[in-house]
């Protein structure tokens, strides 16, 4: 608090929070980024195999490594980690789970059998190349998987087979939903923000209250409310049936699909568009609009040529906020999206909690983070260069 060195006092005040965020937020994010390229699990489960394969030249069947695999499998089996190992290996190549099961069971009966005698699968040089690759703790394959690319046994990159291409489509679908939600928010939010800016103090307070009430209400409460309204036996469908507009069998599917995700996301994000736009509109001097009108311009022309351009910064700020928030939305699609209304975040949560494919979850997260940061950094500049300045 020494007035002579304001910046040292400032530093002392700012650093606690900066340090806190560095530890509690930035370090976890960095951990996620690291996880997308660093996956030591298989290496830890097969330490001898990894050592044996490090200096292998990649041809034939490495005799040294077969003994290492036998030892690693026996140890994993003794420590109850064989199931996890089989699952991890099967993810790299279909059928490896069965091979591991057969081998482990055989080794329990006759511990000293050579691998190649237990199953012909062990004579396949491709298998050993895959093992050499997956026992390395550093890997690009999660990031490649997140882009629907896979690595063949001899190291070539190919697109996933058609049925397993999921993520590029999902990224595109997420971006498309985010754009649609942003557009709808703009169409609904612009007139609403204008009404707020143009009305008298008491109506303005009411309109502000009506936008802030959902803004402050829990996401869970809002999802619940929309489920009550939109489900097949919900308020809207019951009302339509009672009025005879919809037949008992023709009830509308408004929720647990993409329609539900979009409706509820617009409801959740509309305040994020209205509030920054309103603050820009409220700060505009009325003199430009009055000048245009007194010079004889039609109100529509005044709006299009004078008022609208003046409010672009608010539109850009609100739109960017809504778009970026939509890209990463998780709660709403998870609760009201059903099977078809899921976005990229839900897939990340799925791999974290259900399939336990943490490397892939981290890789999808890394790509999402890149997309968000790129947008957050470039869009405001583009908007500025495009003349969207106040």
């Amino acid at each position: 608090m020494n007035a002579a060195s304001p910046s040292r006092a400032g530093l002392a005040l700012v650093l606690p929070l900066v340090a806190f965020i560095a530890i509690a937020f930035l370090a976890p994010i960095a951990t996620m980024l690291l996880r997308s390229v660093h996956d030591p699990e298989i290496a830890e489960l097969m330490p001898r195999t990894r050592q044996a394969l490090i200096r292998w030249d990649g041809t034939g069947v490495p005799q040294m490594a077969t003994k290492a695999v036998t030892a690693d499998l026996r140890e994993a089996s003794a420590t109850n980690r064989i199931g996890r190992l089989a699952q991890r290996l099967n993810r790299e190549r279909n059928g490896l789970r069965a091979l591991i099961d057969v081998t482990v069971r055989h080794l329990e009966r006759e511990p000293d059998t050579e691998l190649t005698r237990i199953d012909r699968g062990w004579s396949d040089p491709d298998l050993w190349r895959i093992l050499a690759r997956v026992t390395s703790p550093w890997t690009g394959r999660h990031l490649l998987n997140a882009l629907d690319v896979t690595v063949t046994a001899d190291g070539a990159l190919v697109r996933q087979e058609e049925a397993r291409r999921l993520y590029v489509d999902l990224f595109l679908r997420t971006a498309w939903v985010a754009a649609l939600v942003t557009l709808i928010c703009a169409l609904l939010g612009y007139p609403y923000a204008y009404a707020m800016a143009a009305s008298g103090p008491s109506l303005r307070t009411l309109l502000l209250f009506l936008v802030l009430l959902p803004f402050w209400t829990s996401l869970l409460v809002r999802a619940t409310a929309w489920i009550v309204l939109l489900q097949r036996r919900g308020v809207i469908n019951e009302g339509l049936v009672a009025m005879g507009l919809v037949s008992e069998t023709g009830r509308l599917d408004l929720i647990y699909n993409m329609t539900g995700t979009i409706i509820v996301m617009v409801h959740v994000l509309l305040p994020f568009f209205v509030l920054p736009l309103y603050s820009v509109m409220a700060g505009l001097p009325t003199s430009y609009v009055r000048a245009s009108a007194s010079l004889g311009a039609h109100p529509l022309r005044t709006f299009a040529r004078v008022y609208l351009p003046l409010t672009y910064p608010g539109v850009a700020a609100g739109g960017l906020l809504v778009f970026i928030l939509s890209l990463g939305y998780y709660v709403t699609p998870a609760l009201v999206g059903g099977r078809t209304g899921q976005l990229i975040s839900n897939q990340i949560a799925f791999h974290m909690q259900r399939s336990l494919n943490w490397g892939l979850a981290a890789a999808l997260g890394t790509l999402l983070l890149l997309a968000v940061l790129l947008l957050a950094l470039t869009l405001p500049r583009l908007a500025e260069r495009g003349g969207l300045r106040a």
């Binding site: 020494n2 910046s7 005040l13 606690p16 509690a24 309109l207 009550v228 998780y330 968000v372």
Partner: protein, 272 residues
């Protein structure tokens, strides 16, 4: 024509307002449904008093799960709110004293939890805390919630500070006041409304947060949002509607109170 356009415009805005608020209001009567459904019964529509019931309110009031969830949510928020408010207020005061370059750099770091999708933070903090054994612990949730809440405090306190007149501090110093005394007698009373609304933001951020809790909470750390989550996803019971109604009521009361405080602060400012 002009009148008609005006009427059409306000009608449109009325519809948008209805879209914003009506869904929240629909759950209120439905929470008094005596049946385990999410829709109106005929008796309710006829406004027959026997068609209404407080069954679901009694259920959440008596349920050990809901009580545990409420206690957990309040305990977490009770640590997060003062911690985030203290760290955030200090940072907001400090940022103004820094030269432009470091100020911008620190502002970006402080704002980063607001930009990055929460699901990524949840994923990262799970990876980060798992080796430390801090998943399924209150400490982990409090750590993450504070990181999410403190930036809001910086923003709200910072916006109050832009209207703060530095000459007041110089006046205090000329009159012989120490910097610390000047802070407590001049700065703090003037920025108190900003700190209060920042604290409110921090509280709500923690109290409403679901994603971090989903990743880090075990059964013993279940919070209200998690309890509602399972109520919506797994067991779809109108008890969720009763809880939701209470939360809407709480938000409405807090907002009305905040608006009244802001109004009285403004009129007090006008008097000064």
């Amino acid at each position: 024509m002009n009148r008609l356009a005006r009427f059409g415009f306000y009608l449109l805005c009325g519809l948008i307002a209805a879209f914003l608020v009506l869904p929240l209001l629909v759950i209120v009567p439905l929470s008094f449904n005596p049946e385990p459904y999410f829709s109106f019964t005929p008796a309710m529509l006829q406004l027959d008093p026997s068609g209404w019931s407080v069954r679901w309110y009694r259920e959440i009031a008596e349920s050990a799960q809901w009580r545990l969830a409420l206690r957990n949510s309040l305990s977490i928020a009770a640590v997060v709110t003062p911690l985030a408010t203290l760290l955030g207020t200090m940072a907001a005061l400090g940022l103004r004293r820094l030269p432009t370059r470091p100020r911008k750099m620190f502002a970006v770091i402080i704002a980063s939890p607001l930009v990055v999708p929460v699901i990524l933070f949840a994923t990262g903090i799970y990876f980060f805390l798992a080796p430390l054994g801090l998943t399924q612990s209150f400490a982990g949730i409090i750590l993450a919630h504070t990181a999410l809440a403190a930036p809001y405090v910086v923003v709200t306190v910072g916006s109050t500070l832009t209207n703060f007149d530095e000459r007041l501090l110089r006046a205090a110093s000329i009159l012989g006041s120490s910097p610390l005394a000047a802070f407590f007698k001049v700065t703090l009373p003037l920025i108190a409304p900003g700190i209060a609304s920042g604290a409110l933001f921090a509280f709500v951020t923690s109290f409403d947060e679901a994603v971090i809790a989903l990743f880090l909470a075990g059964y013993d750390q279940r919070t209200i949002p998690l309890q509602m989550w399972s109520g919506v996803r797994d067991q779809l019971s109108p008890a969720v509607l009763a809880a939701a109604t209470l939360m809407v009521l709480l938000v409405t009361i807090v907002m009305l109170a905040a608006m009244l405080i802001a109004r009285s602060a403004r009129s007090a400012g006008a008097r000064r």
